[in-house]
């Protein structure tokens, strides 16, 4: 009886591993075809490359100016993230600690936008950004993410701050700390786990975001983001699949590498974010 059960588990395990390999097969095909020459790719897509065509990479690297794109993505994501964490955490703290009508109203106004789909306002957001000179600039794009990311971050922080006892504030006040100093030296460190969650969700979102960058910074190569450049590049090279594949590998590889190293935290953060959000 016991033996039969083991045998079944092993079979299940083998089946699952096979399924997972088929599941990842498209990514494998993308990678091997990014290393083939045009003629080799056209004759057989599923065969392994006979000779590794690294020149695809050097060509695409230069053509799309990869280092520049990487820098742009980093600036947008970093600036967006720093702002979201800062403005949401301080507001969440104050709003959770102040019991007044104004406080509840502001909290409500700030989390309501979670219900507004981006497509409903995309045209007017673009116009507003043009008026404020925030379009066609990586910094401007980063700034816009403050507002777009703040409602969810505020919501998550707010729920967490409510669980921090007021006595902590009070004892810090006796020690002479107040205002921002009290917040950053005493409260903010206590928010570390939520901050990690917010960082993980928002990095994945901003780094890969497509529609907002498409509208805001699509005009010039100097301001494009990685996803955006890969999108335009593939649009131009619909027949030269080997270059298209290379561009895609270059666009997704940073995410995959980060995931391999931080897998545990990313999965945990995503779950925590969903459960709280």
């Amino acid at each position: 009886m016991k033996k039969k059960r083991d045998w079944r588990i092993i079979l299940l395990e083998v089946v699952m591993v096979v399924i997972s390999l088929i599941f990842l097969y498209p990514l494998f095909l993308t990678i091997i075809n990014s290393l083939k020459s045009f003629s080799e790719l056209m004759t057989d897509v599923i065969a392994l490359p006979k000779k590794l065509a690294f020149e695809n990479y050097s060509y695409v690297w230069q053509y799309i100016n990869y280092p520049r794109l990487f820098l742009n993505n980093t600036v947008v994501t970093g600036l967006g993230l720093a702002g979201i964490v800062l403005i949401s955490s301080i507001a969440a703290y104050k709003l959770a600690r102040t019991k007044s009508r104004a406080s509840s109203l502001i909290y409500f106004l700030c989390i309501m936008p979670m219900l507004i789909p981006f497509q409903s306002i995309m045209l007017t957001v673009l116009q507003m950004a043009k008026n404020l000179n925030l379009s066609e600039s990586t910094w401007g794009l980063g700034l816009l993410y403050w507002g777009f990311g703040a409602p969810l971050a505020l919501f998550i922080y707010h729920g967490f701050v409510k669980g921090i006892p007021r006595e902590i504030d009070e004892s810090a006040t006796i020690d002479g700390a107040s205002g921002f100093r009290l917040f950053f030296s005493v409260i903010f460190p206590l928010l570390k786990s939520v901050t990690t969650t917010i960082i993980i969700i928002d990095v994945m979102w901003i780094w890969n975001d497509f529609l907002l960058p498409l509208l805001m910074v699509n005009g010039s190569p100097a301001t494009k983001t990685l996803t955006l450049a890969a999108y335009t590049f593939v649009g131009q090279y619909t027949s030269d699949w080997q270059y298209a594949m290379t561009a895609m590998v270059m666009a997704v590889l940073p995410s995959i590498i980060v995931f391999i190293f931080l897998q545990k935290y990313i999965v945990k953060g995503v779950v925590a974010g969903a459960v709280k959000g």
């Binding site: 588990i9 299940l12 395990e13 699952m16 591993v17 997972s20 599941f23 990842l24 498209p26 990514l27 993308t30 075809n33 897509v45 599923i46 065969a47 702002g83 301080i90 507001a91 104050k94 102040t98 104004a102 502001i106 106004l109 700030c110 936008p113 219900l115 789909p117 981006f118 497509q119 409903s120 995309m122 045209l123 007017t124 957001v125 116009q127 507003m128 507002g147 703040a150 409602p151 205002g179 921002f180 890969n208 497509f210 529609l211 996803t227 890969a230 999108y231 699949w241 298209a244 895609m248 666009a251 995410s255 995959i256 995931f259 897998q263 999965v267 995503v270 779950v271 969903a274 459960v275």
Partner: protein, 294 residues
């Protein structure tokens, strides 16, 4: 003295909350008001003064806009199929991964990886697989399945979009369900075994009810994401074949940015907002009611 302290408190309250208020007003409330305004106009985006037309845009959308009604049907069909499939498949996978297999960590990572990739890129990768990859796979296996026109035939294109969306996001739902299953106490499952419940009955009577919170979250997320589907269609089918795979979000994008119907497009955008609002409110009420019962 007292009023001085109160003023200081007010100042501090302002300093902590003003940044978020300004950021949110700038990207949400101001554009939202402008959306309402433009939806009542006829405007190509270039002329200085949009022409006020009252509710004409809305009349036109509801009376006879085949593009919009097709896109709405597509979105509803897609959302229903996606919500059901992604949740059923994720629960099944989660049950297997919860059995403490030796490869659980690998399996979880493998299924999660596509979720960290950009949807536009995922769409392109699959376009390549459907167009080039399937040709080679068909040649080497001889299976007719690979010979079908997965992006060129209306119903198959719908299935393709659905499959690619499921492929990209199932890992997310999977980890939520795994977390949910781990919070089901083992002794509860064991108690049910002792009572003589078979695995199927145990699942429906013990596990599934305890998974209710995870199901609520997942259905909510699946709904909000599927109703706004855009990126993956843009890169996978581009709305084709013959304009049959436009979603509502994509239809709005087409009208505003490709056909320069700014007033008309924003009217559609407003309808999308109201639809999302109603669906969310309904869902939250059901959710609240269930919570009270539990």
């Amino acid at each position: 003295m007292k009023s001085g302290r109160r003023r200081a408190e007010r100042l501090e309250f302002g300093a902590f909350t003003l940044p978020i208020l300004v950021s949110i007003i700038v990207v949400f409330y101001y554009p939202f008001m402008m959306t309402i305004r433009y939806s009542l106009t006829q405007w190509n985006g270039i002329s200085k003064h949009p022409k006020f037309v009252g509710l004409d845009n809305f009349k036109q959308i509801f009376m006879g806009d085949a593009n919009f009604s097709n896109a709405a049907w597509f979105t509803i069909k897609y959302a229903l199929a996606y919500i059901i499939l992604v949740n059923v498949l994720a629960i099944l996978l989660a049950l297997v991964l919860d059995m403490k297999l030796k490869s659980t960590n690998w399996l979880r990572a493998a299924f999660f990886i596509p979720y960290i990739l950009s949807l536009v890129i995922v769409g392109f990768i699959w376009k390549f697989i459907f167009m080039q990859g399937f040709e080679s796979l068909g040649a080497s296996t001889g299976w007719g399945l690979f010979g079908l026109s997965w992006l060129g035939e209306q119903n198959l294109a719908f299935i393709s979009i659905l499959l690619v969306s499921l492929w990209q996001s199932i890992g997310f739902y999977l980890v939520i369900y795994i977390a949910g299953l781990q919070s089901v106490p083992d002794d509860l499952k064991e108690a049910a075994t002792v009572d003589g419940a078979g695995p199927v009955r145990r699942f429906f009577n013990v596990t599934l009810p305890l998974l209710a919170p995870s199901i609520t979250i997942s259905v909510f997320m699946a709904l909000t994401n599927s109703i706004k589907v855009f990126d993956v269609i843009l890169s996978l089918t581009g709305g084709g074949p013959g304009g049959t795979t436009y979603s509502v979000a994509y239809d709005i994008y087409r009208d505003t940015f490709q056909n320069n119907l700014y007033g008309y497009g924003t009217a559609k955008a407003l309808i999308l907002f109201i639809a999302v609002l109603i669906i969310t409110v309904i869902q939250l009420t059901i959710f609240k009611r269930r919570e009270v019962e539990a």
